[in-house]
Symmetry: C2
Subunit: 297 residues, 2 copies
Amino acid sequence: VVVLLAGGTGGAKLARGLLDEADELTVIANTADDVEIYGAHVSPDPDLITFWLADRIDERGWGLAGDSFHVMDGLRELGDEVWFNLGDRDLALCVRRTRRLAEGARLTEAIDEARRALGVHARVLPMCDAPVRTHVRARGQWHPFQEFMIRERAAGPVEDVELRGIEAARPTPEVLEALTSADAIVIGPSNPVISIGPILALVREAIQQAPAPVVAVSPLVRGTVVKGPTDEFLAWAGHPLTSEGIAAHYAGLLDGLVADERADSVPTLVTDVEMADHAARRRVAREVLDFSSALAG
Amino acid sequence: VVVLLAGGTGGAKLARGLLDEADELTVIANTADDVEIYGAHVSPDPDLITFWLADRIDERGWGLAGDSFHVMDGLRELGDEVWFNLGDRDLALCVRRTRRLAEGARLTEAIDEARRALGVHARVLPMCDAPVRTHVRARGQWHPFQEFMIRERAAGPVEDVELRGIEAARPTPEVLEALTSADAIVIGPSNPVISIGPILALVREAIQQAPAPVVAVSPLVRGTVVKGPTDEFLAWAGHPLTSEGIAAHYAGLLDGLVADERADSVPTLVTDVEMADHAARRRVAREVLDFSSALAG
């Protein structure tokens, strides 16, 4: 079993590649980006991963392929400023999750039901069932994560990051079991601070104790990030936007790094980590698995 | 100012007629049919009235004209049994209301904002701000109102009706002020028990003390009901499905009844009360207002 830690697009693309290349895949997804809006519990990262795994991701890079936006249109017609865009079928998924949570289901169960309903065979596990919410301070103000990303257009510099609720949160039994029994643990090319950070805050020790080799895939492609404000957050964390910066951020965890530039502090598989199409996603996944096997010796 | 007490379709059609015929119209709407579903606060009667007043009612008899149902389709795709159908733009309206209530707005304010957003000039007032929920006992079981109507297809006989929350509810200041200052009070041709009943449970005394004449429009057309299970509920209330039965149900309140059949106990304007098209809705509205003026002497 390959266990992948993932946040948004980068991690989700690698998950899709691993779905074809690994015997069995379990994705542990960040839920610190979750947001309650429109009466619904939105879990952007688990859903993005699920949509990718179901081959249902829309070309725009988020949401369900071909989804309509009539509820959002309706809100605008009523005078609302719609800052968080959510498709109609996407909303249905979130509304259903909210109902299941209200009925007493764990987030783990609600997300598992959704991936089954979408015909996904890999498991998608939220990192925890309790609410953890990333807040970002920028220009003197604290912003809930989605508001920072969308309303504030992720305008840094980032002054501080808080994972509110993290002290009370515990990794789920499913997450701990997946890590313990993993043949390979892969940290996906998602934002190391805000996507992978919350997961590691919960399972750092569990990963260190797990027998499987731990390989991170760098989110940097030719020295820059494909999507999202990784640079702002890495800068706040005090690490440069380089393979070595990524390796330093994951210090004490990694057996290897997959990146397009060598890191000094950790064995690096240097390869093109851009995953622009399905062939590239499979190739990177294959290389990650082979590298992991080699590290396991 | 004409004040209309209304529930669903019959009352809403008369409201649309009165909108053209009265100088000013305020509708007091039943909210005991409200239901929390899909993370949203659905107010079927106030919304139906608002859609009629905005000329936005769909030909199917409920919901917004031309609305799509993609969220419901999404829920079905995920395996949900969708028993309560709600259009996408309709859901947007309800989601917005839920948010406003969560922000501390009164239901009165949230419903007022919606009718303004839809360009309706008449006021639509919920009977109260507190939650009142009709429950119906049939075949030995209690059912929340919408579940009885939809899931149970209103299958009687009705054994009991409870307006849960009614003791704690109070008519709003807007409702009391509207009744006190009304020139005419009209009880619309909605279900006397489950649509008008909850309103009267709150404002019976206020209506009796109001100076305006009180005229009811019978929901019976040629001895039967156009829509909905009025017969089941009137039977439970112990009244026959006749003008006299309607008059008896409203005993102590009426100065006059508008119906297609004379009642013995109250002055009756005998006319065709069917409102199949816009001309008929205006005609009935006009006749109701003239009758009310005549009763006021």
